[in-house]
């Protein structure tokens, strides 16, 4: 058990500048992209994303090697005046996951978003690649910043990068979805900002460890925690704030949907977990945490049942995201303060495995759904027949992702849900255990429903387009990672506890 002060960043550690580069280099690439007017756009993006992966892997190796977090004092100004960056085990994990999925999505979108050679800059490529770079930068900021206002800037950057992606296709429906996303997101931002204003007023600092060290359960702090939480829930699309997600995620191009569902909603979730477990750990009253878990349970049930009733494949996959986000909220109730540390560690690992397994599974599934739409020219679930002939690897990717979403062994989804289940039963919270099992059954129903259609004979008169193998392999690769995570031993992962106060 480390004291709370262990969260404080005192000095820059060796390799700490990697944290700055992870945030700033995508911004450098973004400026080049806009300044050069589309010339060499894809080369700039791929270089930036490869560098991003290098940075993430270096950070993870350094954290694992030293068994302690990396830290950076920006500009040499210490809190409370200045801003610090800090990467612990979960930060490093999420940086690697994010970099890998961005690269895969960029590879998938390589052909669709090529700038036409010798012609003037085109609209979709500039918007798509700019947004990808900005999202990559914003996520790294959310994973590493220790300053509440700096994190607000990260949330804003993530939002303003994600919304154009949902509007790329144009047309009234996608614009309406993008506008709805904007309204929910701005509502969330305002609540978050209001909450941190209260915290600054109460504690005179925006530094997470500075607030944690002097935390009092007074009215201002409780109100602030409430505002910040509701604001972040709106961005994470937890039930009942999920209404914006399905049309927005389903309306984006496939590679964009993959990044939005796999990573973007996890940015605000990451911050929420960081706040409740590292900043306000002593405020975690069981009743409030049960409320978060209840919202999660309702998300699992409502999201899965709604997914079952969808006629369009991309909307089904989007509603499945609503459901899968719900599981992650059980950790708030399953890892309470003061109970057996083994249970808490099991729930903690289960929740992060769920975050990562869902990221890979959902990215693979959205890419597979995008390929299905390309082969068939539509994404009506009823008429998916013939897909297994034209794009067998995409169907396999969908199936493997489905395996992890259902939580069948061997898969990362199974490990995650099993560990959450074990923690629920060990803590006597069998209701959440029942929801975890019910959610798996419902996911099985919608995944097998789609797979059966994909395996069916093509409808008479359907014209099927061919799609390349390369992009099918990318989808399959992502799904395979979700499944391979099932080979991990079913026990708490020590890496996830590096640098934590618990």
């Amino acid at each position: 058990m480390m004291p709370l002060q262990a969260l404080a960043v005192t000095e820059t550690t060796p390799g700490g500048s990697l944290l700055v580069l992870g945030i700033v280099m995508p911004a450098v690439a973004l400026v080049a992209l806009i300044g050069l007017g589309g010339r060499g756009a894809r080369a700039i993006v791929i270089a930036a994303l490869l560098f991003q992966l290098y940075v993430a892997v270096r950070v993870a190796l350094l954290v694992a090697g030293t068994q302690s977090p990396l830290a950076y004092v920006v500009g040499g100004f210490h809190p409370p005046l200045g801003i610090t960056l800090r990467a612990d085990g979960i930060s490093a994990l999420m940086m690697v996951v994010s970099a890998a999925i961005f690269l895969a999505a960029a590879g998938f979108a390589w052909k669709d978003f090529a700038q036409p050679g010798g012609k003037p800059e085109a609209r979709a490529p500039l918007i798509f690649w700019s947004a990808m770079l900005a999202m990559a930068s914003a996520l790294n900021l959310l994973f590493t910043s220790s300053d509440l206002f700096n994190l607000y800037v990260g949330i804003e950057l993530l939002t303003f990068a994600a919304i154009p992606v949902t509007a790329i296709k144009g047309g009234a429906d996608t614009l309406r979805a993008a506008l709805r996303y904007l309204l929910f997101a701005v509502f969330g931002s305002m609540l978050y900002l209001f909450g941190i204003v209260l915290l600054y007023g109460a504690y005179g600092t925006l530094d997470i460890s500075g607030i944690a060290a002097q935390l009092q359960p007074n009215a201002a702090t409780l109100a602030a925690a409430g505002f910040v939480t509701v604001g972040l829930l709106a961005k994470t699309a937890l039930f009942p704030f999920h209404l914006w997600l399905p049309p927005a995620h389903a309306g984006a191009p496939a590679a964009g949907s993959a990044v939005l569902s796999a990573l973007v909603v996890k940015g605000s979730l990451f911050l929420l977990m960081r706040l409740w477990f590292d900043t306000f750990p002593t405020l975690r009253e069981p009743a409030d945490m049960q409320l978060l878990a209840l919202s999660g349970a309702l998300a699992v049930i409502v999201g899965s049942v709604t997914a079952l009733r969808q006629q369009r494949l991309k909307l089904l996959v989007a509603y499945s995201t609503v459901a899968q986000i719900g599981y992650m909220f059980f950790v708030f109730s399953l890892a309470p303060k003061g109970t057996g540390e083994a249970i808490a560690a099991t729930a903690w690992t289960g929740a992060w495995l769920q975050v990562v397994a869902h990221a890979f599974a959902k990215a693979g599934m959205f890419l597979a759904a995008g390929l299905a739409a390309e082969v068939l020219g539509h994404d009506r679930i009823r008429d998916l027949g013939g897909l297994s002939r034209r794009a067998p690897l995409a169907v396999l990717a969908f199936a493997l992702s489905g395996l992890s979403l259902m939580g069948l062994p061997p898969s990362g989804g199974f490990n995650a849900k099993f560990m959450l289940l074990v923690a629920a039963l060990a803590g006597g919270q069998w209701v959440w255990g029942a929801v975890i099992i019910a959610g798996g059954v419902l996911a099985g129903a919608y995944v097998f429903g789609v797979l059966a259609r994909m395996m069916a004979e093509p409808a008479a008169g359907a014209s099927l387009q061919a799609v390349g193998r390369g992009r099918q392999w990318i989808a399959l690769g992502l799904s395979a990672v979700a499944v391979l995570m099932g080979l991990l031993p079913l026990e708490p992962v020590a890496f996830l506890a590096i640098g934590r106060a618990l």
């Binding site: 911004a27 950076y72 500009g75």
Partner: protein
């Protein structure tokens, strides 16, 4: 005397705010909202937050108001697309807004009596940077990382507005055409005011190091001049693919990033300034930022590129 002024201002704010909510004509509501923003900036002056006041007047009242005027102008007389809200709905909105206000006011009282703030340490360490304005110190010294990333957010906001264009119109001219006919008064203003505004903007940016002002305020004044010229039809907005325009958009972030990386070399941390060079570097940064902010704000208001014949 001062208390009397404050009470009168607060009452006036309430009345004007209420008027904006219950006004039935959209254009009336927008104009009253602009007036409301200007009164609010006065309130900020009374709270000794001059920088906030300038921003409120420029962005909260000016830029937001202009966007609302454009929106109201676009749908004026269009009874099919504009939903007429009932009187009851307006009252409901007013009640909701009042509840939010009461809630916020109540929270002000739950904070500890002695406000905790970093004002003292900021003032104590400000002289090291050579700056005199503590707000500039926070924005460009202690928390310049936030400021840098906010500029990236501004780029993304522009990309978001441009994303609303049709594929075929990409690279073209923004669709801001408020006044199709020549309007003598507006034209006169658009020809005479910009030189004065230009000098004023430069002054605000330059003075921002020591007194309220700075790149954002200066950039906003420049943007206002540019918008006036565009709205009056004296000069058309440039094509969004124009290389000089793109350079102007990224100039601020490029200089900011470059100075940030310079910090790695000396004195050894990102966004740290070499001893004795803080002020000149910050002024260079602010100059480039003024240009970029002016161009981006102007383009945000000018809207997505639009073909000539598009409705």
């Amino acid at each position: 005397m001062e208390t009397g002024f404050d009470i009168a201002l607060a009452l006036l704010l309430l009345c004007v705010g209420g008027w904006s909510v219950i006004a039935r004509n959209m254009m009336t509501a927008v104009i009253v909202f602009i007036a409301y923003g200007l009164l609010l900036s006065l309130a900020w002056v009374r709270l000794h937050a001059i920088d906030v006041s300038l921003t409120e007047a420029a962005i909260g009242s000016g830029a937001t108001g202009l966007l609302m005027v454009i929106a109201a102008h676009k749908v004026a007389g269009d009874t099919k697309r504009v939903v007429q809200l009932s009187r009851g709905f307006h009252v409901l909105a007013a009640v909701f807004a009042a509840l939010v206000a009461v809630g916020i006011a109540a929270l002000a009282f739950v904070l500890p009596g002695e406000p905790s703030s970093l004002a003292a340490p900021v003032l104590e360490r400000l002289p090291d940077s050579g700056l005199g304005n503590p707000v500039a110190g926070v924005l460009f010294v202690f928390r310049s990382f936030d400021t840098l990333l906010e500029k990236v957010v501004l780029l993304l906001a522009l990309i978001g507005v441009w994303a609303l264009a049709r594929d075929a119109d990409w690279g073209g001219v923004p669709g801001l055409r408020l006044f199709r006919e020549r309007h003598s008064v507006l034209t006169l203003l658009a020809r005479t005011l910009p030189p004065i505004g230009f000098v004023f903007a430069i002054y605000m940016t330059w003075a921002g190091a020591d007194v309220p002002g700075g790149a954002f305020q200066g950039g906003t004044v420049l943007a206002a001049m540019w918008i006036l010229v565009m709205v009056a039809g004296v000069r058309r907005p440039p094509r969004i693919s124009s290389p000089p325009l793109r350079l102007a958009i990224v100039a601020g972030p490029v200089v900011f990033l470059a100075i940030g990386f310079l910090g790695f070399l000396a004195p050894g941390a990102f966004l740290a300034y070499p001893e004795g060079f803080a002020k000149p570097l910050i002024v260079a940064m602010e100059t480039a930022l003024t240009l970029s902010i002016a161009v981006i704000l102007g383009l945000l208001i000018a809207g997505p590129p639009k073909g000539e014949d598009a409705p």
